[in-house]
Amino acid sequence: MSLEIQIEKKLPDFSLEVSFKAVDEPLSVLGPSGAGKTMLLRCIAGLENPDRGRIALADRVLYDSERRFSIPARQRRVGMLFQNYALFPHRTVAENVAFGLARMPSAETKARVATLLERTHLKGLAGRHPRELSGGEQQRAALARALAIDPDALLLDEPLSALDTHLRSQMETELLVTFAAYRRPALLVTHNIEEAYRLSSRMLVLSCGRIAAIGAKEEILRHPPTVEVARLTGCKNFSRAKAISETSIEALDWGCRLRVARPITTPPAFVGIRAHTIDFVEPSAGPAAGENIFPCWLARSSETPFRITLYLRLRQTTGEGCEFHLQAEMFKEKWTRFRELPEPLQVRLSPEALILVPE
């Protein structure tokens, strides 16, 4: 099955204009809050109508503005998992799951509900009301309810955002199991790159209503087409850049020349580097330490239980209101080896780690 979407919809601040195709595997829709992600799902589910365009699922047309045609949400057979699950509070878990099965004979409904509850590990909770469930159980119940109608596509709106951190990785694993069994188009909206990366192999980056990137996740991470995509996919350091030879560039904001790993094909507008790929040169390394090594000064740092973020300056002073040039991240154990060394430290921006962004 495939889900083909080509829609335009005017929103208060921008217009949603997307055109893409999702096949029988999960596709993450990544974007900042207010990029139009939820509206995209609502248009597919039939809860909103676009202004123009066409939506087709397998061999069924769900919406076509040219033919003034839109089938109502109840006939679309598109499963939707709402951000806060929207479990009916006055119905038990089993009654929630059975809601979409109203037209089946009751024995069949019972059997189907039992199978779904078994699969979602909710068997013992069938008689409970949603308020008596934990966040993870609520999500499972909502997912079972959405899957009960055997939907031709599944839409998940920030499925993990309402959960505590410790529950997230567990529910992530469960979602992966669900996806593996589902094998139909599934769109997963999230603003978390790590979630998107773990849950799907393909990614769509949405920015102000437009598709900023779509494709295999590794490819988008390695070669982001724009600074915004790079930033949304977790890259924290950028500098304006210009090519000065086939294998070297000048990073204008960082004030240094950098060698790149491969010959430049399209001239870069920016160069970026991910915080965790920035490295320091061991004092014992000597002159053979490698390329792209620059002296740096620590502006400030911030710690999490196991990691440290270092804000580095590439000159002793920075000027023009900018406090630091680079943001590096590493495990604290590693940092202890450099912490006591006299400044300046030697930072290495490895050619392989540099991301050249065309625009």
């Binding site: 499963g79 709402f82 929207a86 009916f88 308020r131």
Partner: protein, 226 residues
């Protein structure tokens, strides 16, 4: 003593409340899906019986349903007269109580998180199922409150009833009307008796209903707690 005003009052209020509940709910559900400047006017019309003096409402109903009124003429053709009959007490009470039901039902329906309704739609539910199985149960405490208010208003109705239904003992004489004419005829003892009956009746019914809805209301409120 003739107890007929008590039975007439109860029958009138209960019937009027039942009609108000159904019509008020249907109107509120219909109105909730619409918006626009015309709807403000519609709302105004629906709320008029609440702000107009009951005598005005009663007089307008009399003009409408009387022998020469547009609706009255239609009814005459099928051989029915409404004015000065028991149904007139029901109509008067229902019209006057309607705005209370409409207002509370609308507020209660508006409070239902639209995500529940949307979830029901994506699960294949018809609009009737969305309303009857999701919206209404979730709005029930508010709807019940509206029902109590409507019943109380119907039980106390006087002005519109007198104009439309008159004072026919054993037929249209409700407790408030019985009290009015007892006072007018200087039968103070009878007036006091009916006042006591009215107070007792209202207290018992309202306390009972309040107790019942409060227990229900608390149960429902827990749903929204996470």
């Amino acid at each position: 003593m003739d107890w007929s005003p008590l039975w007439i009052s109860l029958a009138t209020s209960l019937t009027a409340t039942a009609i108000t509940l159904i019509v008020g709910l249907a109107t509120a559900a219909w109105r909730e899906r619409r918006s626009g400047p015309m709807m403000a006017l519609v709302d105004g019309v629906f709320l008029l019986p609440l702000v107009l003096p009951p005598t005005v409402v009663g007089f307008l109903l009399l003009l409408l349903l009387g022998r020469n009124g547009p609706l009255g003429k239609l009814l005459l053709r099928v051989g029915a007269t409404v004015v000065f009959s028991w149904p007139a007490t029901v109509i008067a009470a229902a019209v006057v109580a309607f705005p209370l039901m409409y207002l509370t039902a609308r507020a209660a329906l508006e409070q239902v998180d639209p995500h529940y309704l949307e979830a029901a739609r994506t699960l294949g539910a018809s609009e009737w199922r969305v309303f009857s199985e999701v919206a209404l149960p979730l709005a029930w405490p508010g709807v019940l409150a509206g029902t109590i208010l409507s019943f109380a208003r119907a039980l106390g109705e006087f002005g519109a009833t007198l104009l439309l239904a008159g004072d026919i003992p054993g037929k249209t004489e409700t407790i408030p009307i019985a009290i009015y004419f007892a006072v007018e005829a200087n039968e103070i003892q009878r007036a006091i008796t009916w006042c006591a009956v009215d107070i007792g009746l209202s207290l018992v019914l309202l306390a009972g209903l309040y107790h019942w809805t409060h227990a229900q209301g608390l149960g429902r409120a827990q749903w929204s707690r996470r």
